[in-house]
């Protein structure tokens, strides 16, 4: 049996139905149950049949003659025959809801507890129940606060794991980007080394011949031998043309090393810990960085057109903005399933906002899907290919910057995402983060200022 209920129970002895009004009045006056507002009346089987409150009794007795008139009459004539009755077998929650739903104000009565078998057990003080409710609400509040905290933490975790997933994808691509130059640079160095060995042998042989020719004592067959040696070496190794090739090997190696260092530099830029929470950032620089890092996704599929109007620096976290840009570019590239892929990247200012627009001529998004794409885990990609977190995280990041991310799309034509960031500090003019703000603006709004790229253009 639930102990919190037992704690509420006061086993005050009940009245019997045939007790007279006078006797009941005396019981009230005798006291011993001061916390209680009323006394219960039970039948022969000890089942509660009603409740007589102090308050009702007073009202009766206030009438000058009622004690004389009614004093002898049994109490069941005056009692409340429909008191609140709860069973000790019930759960605390049930009891609370039974009591609070039947409560009458002002509170002049208690409620009756019965045992499992329905026999009278005692009385309960309504105020105690209210206290219990309050206590429970407090607990629930705490739980809510806790849950809230957990949601926040797991949101941070989501951001992190999306970052890791993006990173994993990126590492795969970057590995390819770096391994290719590493392949030929390593091979060229190895070949150069081998060639150097051959050059060494050849120069030694030439030297030998030269010594021989200068020597007074050298026999003709000795010279002949040395010439044969040179001829044999030359057989395998054409010094003149091979040395020309060597120059080319070194040129390529230098190019490869430059490429590797560019990739490493942009990785460093991409993941750099922001100096301040918000720097004054050149977004165009960010776009270039994201393009370098995301190059492997893009280069084989799309031609990239940049139309950059100068935009002022904006206060933002560059690594987060990079994450957003990479997400949106990757999505665009993934949406293209033909070999005429185009990506148009533009920058411009609109009012107080610096804007980046990324436009693809990919599949477009069916109208029914548009409302969902910012939801976490919404993806149309194959299992293992997309987490569906990209845009929800991007959305979060841009909103946290006081900016906005919107799109226009037409099935079979393409999609344009527009990211806008406030030019001045976002703290003063944060856009509301309500579900309606999540809804992307209808395609027409963006489509009107410039049509989406035609696929075959």
């Amino acid at each position: 049996m639930s102990s919190p209920l037992r704690a509420l129970l006061d086993p005050v002895p009940p009245l019997t139905a045939d007790m007279s009004l006078t006797a009941v009045t005396e019981r009230f006056q005798a006291g011993g149950f001061e916390r209680m507002l009323s006394l219960a009346i039970v039948d022969e089987d000890h089942r509660p049949i009603g409740l007589m409150s102090r308050h009702a009794l007073m009202e009766l007795l206030l009438n000058k003659y009622s004690r004389d008139l009614y004093g002898k009459r049994p109490i069941h004539n005056f009692m409340n025959p429909l008191p609140i009755i709860v069973s000790l077998a019930e759960s605390t929650t049930k009891v609370i809801s039974a009591v609070t739903s039947q409560i009458r104000t002002p509170i002049i009565e208690d409620f009756v507890f019965v045992e499992v078998d329905g026999r009278y057990a005692g009385l309960g003080y309504v105020a105690d129940v209210l206290k219990l409710v309050e206590q429970r609400l407090g607990q629930r509040n705490q739980a809510l606060a806790h849950a809230n905290q957990e949601i926040k933490a797991s949101q941070a975790h989501l951001v992190q794991s999306e970052k890791m997933a993006a990173l994993g994808q990126m590492v795969a691509g970057v590995a390819h980007e770096i391994n290719t130059p590493l392949g030929y640079v390593g091979n060229n160095v190895q070949m150069a080394e081998e060639m150097l060995g051959q050059i060494h042998t050849l120069v030694e042989a030439y030297d030998g011949l030269f010594e021989g020719l200068l020597s007074e004592t050298a026999e003709p067959h000795d010279i002949e031998g040395r010439i044969q040696t040179i001829a044999a070496i030359r057989q395998d190794f054409d010094a003149v043309s091979d040395l020309a090739d060597l120059t080319e090997l070194f040129n390529d190696a230098r190019f490869g090393l430059k490429q590797i260092s560019d990739i490493v530099l942009s990785l460093k830029n991409f993941s750099r810990v922001d100096r301040a929470a918000t720097d004054q950032v050149d977004l165009i620089e960010n776009i270039e960085t994201a393009l370098t890092v995301g190059y492997h996704h893009l280069k084989n599929k799309v031609t990239i057109e940049k139309r950059f109007e100068p935009i002022p620096r904006v206060p933002c976290s560059p690594s987060q903005i990079n994450q957003v840009l990479l997400n949106v570019m990757t999505n665009a590239a993934q949406a293209i399933d033909h070999d005429q892929g185009k990506l148009l990247i533009r920058t411009y200012t609109r009012g107080e906002f610096a804007c980046i627009s990324i436009e693809d001529n990919g599949s477009g998004i069916p109208a029914a899907h548009v409302a969902h794409i910012f939801e976490p885990f919404y993806t149309t990609k194959k299992v293992g290919e997309g987490t569906g977190l990209g845009l929800s995280i991007s959305y979060r990041i841009i909103k946290d910057h006081g900016g906005d991310i919107r799109l226009a799309t037409k099935e079979g034509v393409g999609t344009r995402f527009e990211i806008s960031l406030p030019i001045t500090s976002p703290t003063t003019q944060s856009t509301p983060d309500t579900p309606t703000a999540r809804m992307p603006s209808p395609p027409e709004e963006l489509l009107t200022d410039e049509p989406v790229l035609a696929r075959s253009a």
Binding site: L182, G183, L213, P220, I223, K301
Partner: protein, 316 residues
Amino acid sequence: MIDHNLKPTLLLVDDETRITRSLKMLFRNEFNVLTTDDGHEAIRLVQAQPVAVVISDQRMPMMPGVEVLRGIREASPHTMRLLLTGYADLAAVIGSVNEGEIFRFLQKPWDTEQIRADVRAAAHVAELNFTAAARRAQSGQNPVMAEVAEVPEACPGILLLDRDPAAYELVKRATPPNNPLHWARNLDEALELLSTQNIGVLVTDVQDGQASHVGAIKALKQSHPQLVTIVLTQLRDYELLVELINQGQVFRFHPKPGHVGTFVKNVQSALDYHHVLQTQPELQKRHSVAQSVKPLLTGLSDRVMGYFRRFGVSGN
């Protein structure tokens, strides 16, 4: 048929010209090297002339490497195919074995000595393949019959190493009526059967409970170079597969349970391949690249001495 006095042809397919340039320089002494950055072009090239070996990149704009290699396999089945990639997913590895029937899976950056050895080995096998094909073509309309007559014991056994009864059922269905099927539940039984029976094709899982067969598959390929291995497994492990391709020369990778029809075909081509290895063992010894033997310059010293004397550089 390849003219053995000519260098064999090596085709390089990569969208990064610095890769093809670098590799071309590495191989031009031993091979006649062709290069392209376009998979379609690569397929045309192997149709136009006998190409012994092709090395293709995986990630390319027009056509991924696995598709290029599949196309080449169809156009010129005797060309040995190698995939060279900076990064590949599991699907590419499996595809490269089963569809591309690759000889080696190479990773960028590569080891110069290793790639030399691999390409030479590939050229060697290619020569073997081209020769066998030419022979078949010479011996009449029905090459299979002709060869059976040539080698009477041409029905080698198939050995299954896997305790899974479902695998046995699958292999049984794929085994031609004349080829005996042996079933080994563990490695010891397999080794016993290999030493007493004429086994041509090994079908095996890579794992048996905790025990791994990877080492055994590699060792067996070394001790029984004519054994053709089909790996039949549920396991999907990139590194393991690459290892099995390169060191175990796994011929096919068949996922469990997989498609029966495909498996039947796999077993048949494994038997065919074994037959080539079996019937022309002398080819295995021969190296594909012959050193050219031009006569060295003769009577030079007099000419040279005369030349120098005219300038009064040396003595009288």
